[in-house]
Symmetry: C2
Subunit: 157 residues, 2 copies
DNA sequence: TTTCTTATTGATAATGATTATCATTTTCTT
DNA sequence: AAGAAAATGATAATCATTATCAATAAGAAA
């Protein structure tokens, strides 16, 4: 599902790797492919396990290194939901496929993604980004929005 | 400066401690007071150092524990800016004094706070919170907004 | 106020994610 | 095919946070 989109994304990133003077190696391809094929925010451990299935020789150090690289280029976002470990996700087109905001339960740590933005929301963020970019001379690449509170199950408990 | 506001905040929190069946101890008072007196997002280390000036006997474990408690009650927000350690901040009235959003440079990790919200922004967030609360049956306590990108200095370099 | 129950504390050790090191291997250029 | 430089992986090191547990202090009851 969504094969075309994913392939073209990979292609873009692969290309960017090369034009930035970095080498496009098997481990890197594997990690990017895994990120392309998930809608979640996998942790390093999860990515490592998945990579390991196909390429058992790839070490977890390389997973860390590759993710770092992708984060520094603004291709991947590093999330931190207070679990004591980071989670990673490809940044696609800001308002495009895959972009979402979060509801996070401060009690059970559950994360709800929502993607059904209201029109005002998308418009406002575009306006905001323009305004902030100009005011602070800051080149905005992406944003995150997180609402913290108590989820349904934790309230009824 | 802002002494009145801060004092009344402390009072509220102190009261909440008691009514929740927790004991109001000197370490807890000290930690809350420090959080009240800063506009930053101090780390555990920073809070500990500050507490230590007045009460050298208070251990860092207690700082961790107290902050955890405050976070679980929705009184304090725990931030994570990808530095490998958490930062903490009192949650006051959502649109009141002290609430702000962030611009974060993915290159140098600098954090810019902005508090000059446009009206649309405040309105939208109220609307959003209502909508999301209803749809997901989620009791929202507060939100964070972070724009990631490259700051002025890092662009010109 | 004094006593008693129980929450809280602080020192220490343990954990777990992430980072540094370094010899070896792989890429890509020439 | 050869060489320079980047990338890798195993291992050890680091550092924030958490668990443990005996000692202490807060607040309720007498």
């Amino acid at each position: 599902m969504k094969t075309k989109t994913l392939k073209s994304n990979n292609h873009d990133i692969f290309f960017k790797f090369k034009t930035n003077g970095h080498r496009l190696t098997a481990p890197r391809k594997a990690i990017i492919t895994i990120l392309s094929n998930t809608n979640n925010h996998p942790s390093v451990e999860e990515i490592y396990m998945e990579v390991h299935k196909q390429y058992p020789s790839i070490g977890i150090t390389t997973v860390y290194r590759t993710l770092d690289l992708l984060v520094n280029w603004g291709l991947v976002h590093k999330f931190d939901f207070g679990e004591g470990k980071s989670r990673y996700e490809l940044i696609e087109h800001p308002n495009g496929l895959g972009h979402h905001h979060h509801l996070i339960c401060v009690n059970c740590k559950k994360i709800i993604n929502y993607t059904d933005f209201i029109n005002d929301e998308i418009e406002l963020f575009q306006k905001l980004e323009t305004r902030l970019s100009n005011k602070y001379n800051f080149k905005i690449k992406h944003h995150i929005v997180e609402f913290y509170g108590i989820c349904e199950e934790c309230i009824n408990k």
